[in-house]
Symmetry: C2
Subunit: 393 residues, 2 copies
């Protein structure tokens, strides 16, 4: 176990109808002038918007609105939000939505106090300072884990480029999590969200750091819980218990608790960002294609087999083959693919409408034309990435 | 899963030599006048005291000292600390030690701002206010979990009575956790600490609340990790990895993460407090006697069997007996007793020098003479408690 620092001060307010307390909680946290940030019309259709507005009114909070956040949230809207915050002297940002909405707020939050263009912060050219407008959220989509994470991902739609930045001050002050708000998520979005959650656990789980038992156990617990509850939520979208377990897993998978004391990998997120830069593919669907393919690719690497067998046994209940642990690992991957298929997600790039024509470009981008490798669990070279992409085709 | 709020803002600073940064970290957190609280001579013998003093000096922090904390920490020393804080205008409390030292600081921390006697707060007569002197710690004993918990337990040695209070503001601001500092713990103390950690996980695990999968998994992970690493630490007290896993488990078992969304039990802690009120028995040793006996007692209660079998299978790797799950549960308990025995802890009250003469008194105290039951997983009546005590004798 490596040395580490861990602090996650976000207050989790979890349960039925908890969104009704948003006004009181904001007031308790010192808010007076709020910017309400959201996506499209879904929160208006569901009635959530009206509830939030009523709660803000009843708490005597004045607010302005910034609608229009889209998946792969855009820096243009972040800039607009920064302008609004300055103009209206906003002192609290309230995100109502999923990771894209929360990430938009996070970027605005620091951008307000930066004199230059916010893309400098997002792209890493300039480090974020220690001033920010506090962010809170009402979560409607368990997936990105942004409700407790210390980072955000924003796209510049004009380049195009998708990248992110972080700060220990970036974690939301509080997150309201009512599983009922996820009842109306379509099956495909539910499945993509769960795949993202599982990926967040696995990006940390697959680590070259030894002696990380406790954090391995938590990651395995997250995976086992999602694996059990995703089919239940798909079968009955209004199953409170299943929706609640998935929501809790989404937060704990990404608040970095399971990353404590270890090197993390993040190869698959990197690959997915590249692919979705070129093709219109949902983040969770991209991960559903790459993760099992990557795990299978690593079954031939002796040093990777023990951990791949461990996840197969502990998470997928595969029988341990002591003479040939790679077989155990493969059985685990088979079962992962079974879940992905059951959940209606793609298993190949072809199924997702992604062709082979950009493979060289992707491998070049990930390795700076072969000048470095990617990932910590196994250092993937340019050639490894090309072979993997062929396997994913 | 029940609705819940969870917030744990403590900054965990974990790893080798991290105690050397205590001065800088205190300064970063705004400290200027520190009260250094500790127990006896062990931190002087180990050299930790000198390191801390040097770190405080180098950070330019002035400090006073309050030594003399004993196990089952006393309200008399808390009162002395409150006086010192007022006299010296202390603005930060630094605990160097285990749960007793941290708990002493927590009680002082709130007592300073209460005009009456601090026992009013400790005994629950008066609720703690929202003002407190911040507390930080350098942990030397993984057991109580006070380094992230929001409560403390203090004894009035004159009554005698041991009780506690809590507040969301009571969690330490930061906790420095260097597993190397636990190398010198004697085997008995190591084992007692691990039993306390396991008990904190199990007091929450055994819950009547349904659909608590994710938190069950974390509790199971804590248990599995302690079970694996305790024998290693006993065999080789300087095994960094084992000491690190135990230390992390101690914190996560008691920061209430695993208590999210569920009713908790706490019968065994209640029973142990009663027993240790009458007899000189280590907290962990008392729990080692009561927990398996209580679990065995509940094997006859149909509603308790599924969870007892679950822990047996998932944590103790017992084979599932689908026709008779109580047999599975008993196999788990047998394995728990095996670990306790291997760790050199007692399994009966007799072994711990506790006689049968106070059983009626204990059962009366726990149930207010039979007027209520104790515990949430199974409501233990006065008669249940008497039968259990006979089984423990």
């Amino acid at each position: 176990m490596n040395g580490f620092e861990f602090q996650c001060a976000t207050k989790m307010i979890f349960g039925r109808e908890k969104e009704l307390c948003v006004g009181e909680e904001l007031k308790k946290q010192g808010a007076s002038r709020v910017l309400l940030v959201y996506g499209g019309t879904s929160i208006k259709k569901s009635g959530l918007y009206d509830k939030v507005v009523k709660a803000l009114d009843e708490a005597g909070l004045s607010f302005d609105e910034l609608p229009g956040v889209v998946p792969n949230p855009r820096v243009s809207l972040v800039r607009k939000g920064i302008g609004l915050c300055r103009e209206k002297e906003v002192d609290f940002l309230l995100a109502v939505g999923g990771g894209s909405v929360i990430d938009t707020c996070k970027a605005i939050s620091f951008g307000v106090f930066y004199e230059g263009d916010v893309w400098d912060l997002i792209s890493g050219k300039v480090k974020p300072g220690d001033k920010r407008i506090p962010v809170a959220d009402i979560l409607t989509l368990p997936a990105a884990g942004s409700e407790e994470s210390d980072s955000c991902v924003i796209s510049d739609e004009t380049i195009p480029m998708k990248t992110g930045f972080g700060s220990p001050l970036m974690r939301p002050v509080f997150s309201i999590m009512n599983p009922e708000l996820t009842y109306t998520l379509p099956p495909y979005q539910t499945a993509c969200g769960c795949m993202d959650i599982m990926a967040h656990a696995m990006e940390r789980y697959f680590s070259p750091t030894e002696h990380v038992e406790m954090t391995d156990r938590v990651a395995e617990g997250i995976l086992a819980t999602v694996i059990h509850n995703l089919p239940i939520a798909l079968e009955n979208p209004r199953d409170y218990a299943a929706r609640a377990e998935i929501m809790l897993c989404g937060t704990w998978a990404q608040n970095d608790m399971t990353g404590c004391g270890r090197q993390q990998d993040w190869f698959n997120h990197g690959l997915e960002h590249q692919i979705s830069g070129f093709y219109d593919i949902a983040h969770g669907a991209g991960l559903a294609i790459s993760f099992p393919a990557w795990m299978e690719y690593l079954c031939t690497k002796q040093e990777c087999v023990p951990k791949l067998a461990q996840i197969a046994v502990r998470v997928w209940n595969a029988p341990m083959n002591f003479e040939n642990p790679a077989e155990t690992a493969k059985e685990g991957i088979k079962r992962l693919r079974g879940l992905i298929r059951e959940a209606g997600l793609p298993l190949t790039l072809g199924e997702a409408g992604v062709g082979t024509e950009r493979f060289e470009e992707i491998a070049d981008a990930m390795t700076d034309k072969g000048s470095h490798t990617c990932g910590a669990f196994y250092p993937m070279s340019r050639e490894d990435i090309l072979s993997l992409l062929q396997n994913m085709a």
